[in-house]
Symmetry: C2
Subunit: 396 residues, 2 copies
C-alpha cells in the first residue's frame, strides 16, 4: 500500500498557504475527501485545518489508528465532529476570513459552518485548491504513469476481443476487468457537481454521436437513461469508428486516453478527421511549452480544425459541442488547466494534461486521439505509449 | 432501453406535491441528477420545477431531443441555465417559499439561487424527496428484482473461482466483470456527501475488520488509501470468513446483498455469529410488518445480539460500529428507511430494505447475511434468492 510521503505533503501545504496568505485567509477548512487526501494522505473521516502559516491539524472523527498509519502529518488529534468549532475558533481573531470548498461542500454543510462561524467572513477557497493541485510533483506524475500503463495495456488486450457482433457492453466489461485486476482502484472521481464518469466509454458508430449531459465531446447512450453514458447494447459492426475512451486510477491518480479502433477500414472522411486530430497533437507537441496561454492553444487548435474544413465537428457538433480540447488530470478527471478560450492562464511545468482533439459526426460517430502529456521545461512529454494512429482490426 | 412511464412519474410528483403543499412551499427546484431522474425520467442537463400543484416543467439546457425521448413529462422546454430565474419567478408571489435540495447541491449553487431569489425564503426539501422516494412502486420493485438476480447469479458464479491464494482484488474484478456483462449500469450511487460505494466488497479474514470512513459495518483496506475501501491485495486463505458484499444497478435501481463464504470451515465462534445473523433475519421476517417502528426493530435486533453474547461485535466493533442494521435501497444505496434507533418512523408497504445484521471480529473478519426485503401488507417478502447460509467451498 503506497502512502504519500511527508515532504510531498509539506510542499503541497506550503504552496496552498501562499494563496491563503495572499488572500488574507486565516484558516482553510478542508472537508472533501479528495482535497483532504491531497493535503493529508487520508480520506478517513476527519476535518483538516490549514492555517495560513504553520502546521495543519487533522481532526479525526473515526478510524484514528488508520489515519495515523496513512497520514504523515504531525498534528493528528481525535475529536468529535461537534467539537470541531472549538478548534477552529482557536485560529481566529476579530474579522478573520475562513475558507471553505464552495464548489463541493453541500449547502447544509455550508450553512452549518456559517452558523458556527457567524462572526467571521466565510470565503470560497476552491480556486486556490484547484490551482495548487494543478501543478504535479514527480510523485504524482509517477502515479499517473502507472495508470497510463494500465490503459495502454488495455488498448493492446482489447484488440484480441474486438470482432463484428460483440456488444459495446461486453467490451466495456472486459476492459473494466483487466484494469481492475492490474490495480485500477475501481472508480474515477470528477469534481464538477452532477457530472460522473464511468471509466470506460466504448462508443461504436452512431452511439458515439449521441449527445449527453456529460461535459465531454461524447457521452454515448449507455444501457439506461439512469446512467446515460458509455457503452450500450449496440453490437459493433465493420467499418465504423469504435472510439474507446479508457481510464484507470492508481493511488487516486487518473489516466485518461482514447483511441479509434475499426474492424476493416474507415470511410475516407473519418480517416481525414483522424489525420486532423493527429495534426493537432503534433501542433500541441510543438507549442505546449511553459508560458503559452491555454486559451491561445485552444484557439489555434480550433483554427487547424477550420483549415481542414472540420470546424463543425470539432469536439462535438451542435448543442453537444464541448468547448475545450484538453483538461488537467490528477486525483479528479476535470482538473486544471482547461485548454479552452475561457481559461486565460499560462502553461506551467508540472501540469499534466489529457489532450483530446476529437471529431464527432452525426450518426457516424467519433474519431480522435486522447493522450496524456506532462508539461516540461522544453515542451510537453507524451507519456501515453500507445502509437498515435487508428488501430485497425482485421476483418476475419 | 427501458424508460420510466408517465403514470409512474405522475404518481411520484403527486406524492411529493403533498409535502410541498403541507409545508407551504410554492415551488421545488430539482437539480440533482438522481432526484431529477426520479421525477422526470432523465438525467440530461436540465432544471426541473415542481410547483405545489399543477404540472412540473422541465427546462432543458443541453440534449433537448434526448430529453424528449427519455422523459414522459408534458412540459418540456428549452432554455439556458441563465434564463431559469425568469421561469422560477413566474411561480412566485410575495413571501413565497422555494425549495432546494440542501443535502446535495453544492454551496456555490445554493448561493447562486439565494442571490437570484433574494426576495423569497429558500428552504430545504431533501427530507420530502427522501420520504417520497422511500415508498417504491411495482415498477421500482421490478427493477430492484432484476438487480437482485444479477447479484444472486454472481454468488453462484464466484464459487467457481474461490480458492486459497486468489487475491481479493481478482475476485472483485471477476464479480465486476460478470455483473457488468449482465447489465449492471457500472456505478452505484450514494447520497451522503463524502461517502462513495464501490459495488463489490471482497473482505477476507482480517481485512474485514479494518475500520474505514464508510458508513457501513465494514470497509476494508482497499488497494490504496486514496480509495480506502473494498478488496485489497490480500490473498484468500482457508478457514477464514470471506464476506462478499455485492451490488448491481439496473435502470438506476440498486441491489445490495452479502454472503459469508469460506474455503473449508469457519471457527465455531464465527459460525455462531453467523447463526445469530440468521436468527435476526428470522426475527425480521416475522416482525417487519407495516406499522412497526424502525427504531423498535433496531433495538430488538440489538437485544438478540446481546442475548447471544455478541453485542460487542454487532455491526462492527469499537469506533467502527455502524449504528443501523438495515437501510432503504432504490436509486441510491443509502435511502430511507434506516433501521436505527434515531429513525422513528413506521414501516410502510412498498419500502425496500437491505437488511444486514453482521458481526465484525477484530483481526478475524466479518460474518453475516444481507438480503433484500420488500415490505408488504402481511410482512416482508425476501426477494434475494440465494439460500441463507454460509457458502462453503471445498478445500481442494
Amino acid at each position: 500500500m503506497e502512502k504519500v510521503n511527508e515532504e510531498e505533503i509539506k510542499r503541497r501545504i506550503k504552496r496552498f498557504q501562499e494563496y491563503l496568505e495572499k488572500n488574507g485567509i486565516s484558516l482553510a477548512i478542508i472537508l472533501q475527501n479528495v482535497d483532504r487526501y491531497y493535503f493529508s494522505g487520508t480520506i478517513q473521516l476527519s476535518t483538516l485545518l490549514i492555517p495560513f502559516s504553520g502546521d495543519p491539524v487533522l481532526i479525526v472523527h473515526k478510524g484514528f489508528e488508520r489515519v495515523k498509519e496513512e497520514s504523515p502529518l504531525k498534528e493528528i488529534i481525535r475529536a468529535r465532529q461537534t467539537e470541531v468549532g472549538n478548534f477552529i475558533r482557536g485560529y481566529l481573531r476579530e474579522r478573520s476570513r475562513v475558507g471553505l470548498e464552495f464548489d463541493v461542500i453541500p449547502a447544509n454543510v455550508y450553512l452549518r459552518y456559517k452558523e458556527m462561524l457567524k462572526d467571521f467572513e466565510i470565503v470560497d477557497i476552491s480556486e486556490f485548491i484547484r490551482k495548487t493541485r494543478m501543478i504535479k510533483s514527480e510523485y504524482e506524475i509517477t502515479q499517473i504513469k502507472k495508470a497510463v500503463s494500465i490503459v495502454d495495456e488495455g488498448f493492446k488486450e482489447v484488440q484480441k476481443i474486438l470482432r463484428p457482433g460483440i456488444s459495446e457492453l461486453e467490451v466495456d466489461a472486459f476492459l473494466g476487468y483487466i484494469s481492475r485486476k492490474k490495480g485500477h482502484m475501481g472508480m474515477m472521481r470528477m469534481r464538477e457537481w452532477n457530472q460522473e464518469m464511468h471509466y470506460v466509454h466504448v462508443l461504436s458508430g452512431e452511439t458515439g454521436s449521441v449527445i449527453s449531459f456529460l461535459n465531454s465531446p461524447h457521452g454515448g447512450k449507455g444501457i439506461t437513461p439512469a446512467m446515460a453514458q458509455g457503452a450500450g447494447l449496440k453490437k459493433i459492426k465493420e467499418g465504423e469508428p469504435i472510439e474507446i475512451d479508457y481510464g484507470a486510477c492508481v493511488n487516486g491518480y487518473i489516466a485518461d486516453e482514447s483511441r479509434t479502433f475499426v474492424i476493416g477500414d474507415l470511410p475516407d472522411r473519418l480517416k481525414k478527421a483522424h489525420e486532423c486530430s493527429l495534426e493537432i497533437h503534433r501542433f500541441f507537441s510543438e507549442i505546449a511549452k511553459p508560458g503559452i496561454y491555454c486559451n491561445e492553444i485552444y484557439e489555434r487548435c480550433l483554427e487547424i480544425a477550420k483549415e481542414w474544413g472540420l470546424e463543425e465537428y470539432f469536439m462535438g457538433y451542435g448543442e453537444g459541442k464541448a468547448k475545450f480540447v484538453g483538461h488537467g488530470i490528477g486525483l479528479e478527471i476535470d482538473e486544471y488547466p482547461v485548454i479552452t478560450s475561457r481559461f486565460k492562464e499560462r502553461l506551467q511545468e508540472g501540469m499534466v494534461i489529457a489532450f483530446e482533439p476529437k471529431f464527432v459526426f452525426p450518426k457516424e460517430g467519433v474519431v480522435g486521439l486522447e493522450d496524456v502529456y506532462v508539461i516540461k521545461k522544453d515542451g510537453p512529454e507524451r507519456i501515453t505509449k500507445t502509437e498515435q494512429k487508428i488501430i485497425r482490426i482485421r476483418k476475419s
